[in-house]
Amino acid sequence: MRPSAARLLNILVPIKRAVDYSVKIRVNPQQTGIDLNVKHSMNPFDEIAVEEAVRIRERLKDAVKSIKVVTIGPSKSAETLRTALAMGADSAIHVEIPDSAPPPEPLGIAKALRAVIERQKEGVDLVILGKQAIDDDAGQTGQMLAGLMGWAQATFASKVEVNTADKVANVTREIDGGLEELKCQLPLVVTTDLRLNEPRYASLPNIMKAKKKPIEKLSATDLGVDLTPRLETLKVTEPPKRVGGGKVENVDELIAKLKEAGITAVKA
């Protein structure tokens, strides 16, 4: 045990560089994936995760010892780390994978994160991830990491209250049909839902400062993990196109179309 440091939180925020959410994506002609020569940015749920880490520090002040961000991705992912540093993270870890390598799967990422956590001398008390990445839409990494570590997990969080003295966190989660509150012991893995917070924009001075913050570079070999996907992607295709049926002029025509489709009022 760490006698005095035990009450100090070390937060780790894994982030992912993904195609920007506003980009209208196109499948490549070889049907192996999508055209990636488009604007990328930090996965929106990860921005919420970074923001939450920074807000926890703003609330708990000195009780938060460190906020580290980590990404596992190609060389350009370093830009995403800089963004997170500009938002308020202290330092970053870049597990660099070759630009030509296929994107790792959540299980590979979770194992890499476990290895990163095991390397942290002061330990990690709280891992905050996005609930899903908007490229593969898998939504698995946080749960897999919690499983591998044997830690508590609180997915789809819309509110997080950390009590450092008792080493617990109360988390409100969004579940089907409502909300659920959990009390979780630290160390804990949290995944963020949209309503957790509104991420801040990095200010210019903070962007400048972020350039001086340290980024540690590692490789999958350093961590002793294999990031080769185990599922085979056979092809990527366009979804079937919906044909817009055109417009009607007024409510009467609209009702006629509804009737045509067999839709009428259920009560008069």
């Binding site: 195609v19 593969d136 898998a138 499983g147 969004e174 009390k183 599922l231 509804l258």
Partner: protein
Amino acid sequence: MLRTQAFSFRRTLLRTYATASSPNALVFLEHRQGVIDSGSLSALTAAGQLGGQVTGLVLGGSDEVKVIIETAKKLQGLSSVLHSSSPQYTIPLPETVSPLLEKLLSEGSPFTHVISAHSSLAKSILPRVAAKLDVPAVSDITSVEHDASSNSTTFTRPIYAGNAISTVRAPSSIPIKFFTVRSTAFSPAEFSEGAEAELKTLDPVQVSDSPSEHVSTSLTKSDRPELGVASRIVSGGRALKNAETFQSTLYPLADILGAAVGASRAAVDAGYADNSLQVGQTGKVVAPELYMALGISGAIQHLAGMKDSKLIVAVNKDPDAPIFQVADVGLVADLYEVVPELIEKLKR
């Protein structure tokens, strides 16, 4: 060393049996208030398409489980129902449920596939268990096909908010294939009086030192059909101005049509509607007979949640709103004039 050898020998034997026989699927059946969730029934249909045996798994408190298994055994396509009850399963948490699943699926398990709905509970549990068993998982699949000769399973699933469809194969090197099912892509399994699945009790695995405990649950009450399974949906966006207008405009129309009420993220973020009503990539994915989008512009994230609806009707003031590109019936008009007129004329 000797031990390891014996162990791997046994494993090889098992593998041989596994390839010789057909797939053996375990479906996690979720339930609420004595009723099996319709998402789980769709997962069961997907499991049936693997072409092998299907076993249901029911967890819960003892009273609930007693009720559920009586219904579950009547489900078509289920050969047996495993059930386990414990006070710890009354409100299942990943930390308390995972150990049971791990035990059930570890060395010597007959199961080749683990299937659930893509629900908030299963999304929390399944990846945790998969990681413990060192296998990847496939999320939110829309089709499934198993090839018994190569022992590989091929899935399709939407990626990039449904703007691309990925076809992935889980090869035979993945001993247990975990996947969650998009319920709108599979019709729910049906009950039949003739069916009688075998019931088997499973001892619960007590977790004495769970790092998480449940504090409270608050569910949004509604008399209307549930959004995820409704055959008609009336959905509102930012144009609804505030919570009162949202309710006073949409609810009467929804009532006349017997429809569930949905909302765009803009409407939810602005506080007009509860977030359980959100339709889209980050909310619910729906595919009703009728989806009526009122004052919704049609951002890709919203379209990802509703574009498989059979008939999409859009009312929007802006003739260039992207929603009109997917709508079967579009009306460029002020929804505050259209909705009352619509209600009036539907009543006749």
